[in-house]
Symmetry: D2
Subunit: 134 residues, 4 copies
């Protein structure tokens, strides 16, 4: 499952550019990580850009959904920014809340890592639609 | 106002990398554009990545809020993906729905441009918090 | 179309209790109204309760979706509370943003009416799933 | 804390009408219950109305926020409807995800109870603004 997701991850040009790494995967659960590159990825105050926060949360939700429902497309995602996204590495953990035939509901948390410390900086929800759901 | 936003836009490393351009700005309203680079910006099916969809919508909301409330930070944003984000250029239009002292509510639409045609592909909402709101 | 929605509205016990009235309906657009009864419908400060704000916005979205997609069920809705919901009558206007086969995206606005004045107090988004979509 | 919330709950006309009961409260966590009355509270298919789903989730979030931040007002809430809300009693559990000075982020889950069985039927997120936050 991890290998499948790593392979899918490598087919996304944006994920390759950003350097998303799929670090764990089980049925219904996925972990991604990203090494922060301030020169490419910062917003105006130097924190991780909201677009990358959203990308990590949405991808974690989508990959978690993929482990139970095959190919999916996000139809909705929302992001709560709880604290400034300051860190050396960012870790996103997604899990499936409910997998239906027409829609999969998933949720993810984003942690900023500095040294050994993880701090919760954002949460997200997504609704994924199985691509072959008719 | 347009020059101010262009200047702020240029201070965001991610916006520079992506090539966000602020094309219009009035009090409470902003337009951004992005030239799609598939080799950097695609998701696995070749469409514009959800992270960039979110980044454009969130930035359009944030800049629109900035025209009425000065510096702001997004605390929440949500994205509805209405249609595959396929196009040569993407245009995001944001406007302020309500500007309060503690929170500014904004909304944005994302259009995919192919030739002269604009197609609505996503909508977004954001809540922005004025940075100096105490 | 108006008569059909009035009939559907009358089959919801909660809508009957609250007194929701469908006042306008066209393809993709619906208007509802509610006469505020403080003794039943207020939250702790005396304003219209968030549950009723959500019910009006969600129903306006669902009925608007119903005009293009038949029977639907809401899978997601979100509400932005822009101003205290103070008024004698509340008017919700919903419209379809995009109707797909698997999902209908709709949006609504809630106005508080005092005398002849309408004030925007909340906005909402909903995702509706056609019930017979397979 | 439980007594304080029960007292606040009793000041909301809508909560009294519906019969919301605050059954547990600790710092940052709250549980509510509602006995389903189909003749008042159903949507057109006989399930618990989305307005009441939203009211329970929003109230659980707001009361959880209240345990750490005093009086709050919801500025945003969103609801995911995971399964038909069918049950004799509904139980909502809310908890604070992050309490900031300007905004409190909370999350809640709604369970339908039939006999001894609890089934997750909806989840919700809310952003609450402390009323005296200046």
């Amino acid at each position: 499952m991890l290998d499948t997701l790593k392979q899918i991850n490598s087919t996304s040009a944006f994920n390759r550019w950003a350097g998303f790494d799929v670090t764990q995967a089980e049925r219904g659960e996925v972990e991604l990580s990203l090494v922060f590159r301030p020169a490419d990825m910062a917003q105006y105050a130097g924190f991780l850009h909201a677009g990358l926060i959203g990308a990590l949360l949405d991808t974690a939700c989508g990959f978690a959904a993929g482990t139970v429902a095959g190919n999916v497309l996000a139809s909705h995602f929302s992001v709560n920014c709880l604290a400034p996204a300051v860190g050396e590495v960012f870790v996103a953990r997604g899990h499936v809340v409910k997998a239906g035939k027409k829609q999969v509901f998933a949720r993810a948390e984003l942690f900023a890592q500095t040294g050994d410390q993880l701090k919760l900086v954002a949460t997200g929800d997504a609704i994924l639609v199985p691509v072959d759901a008719g």
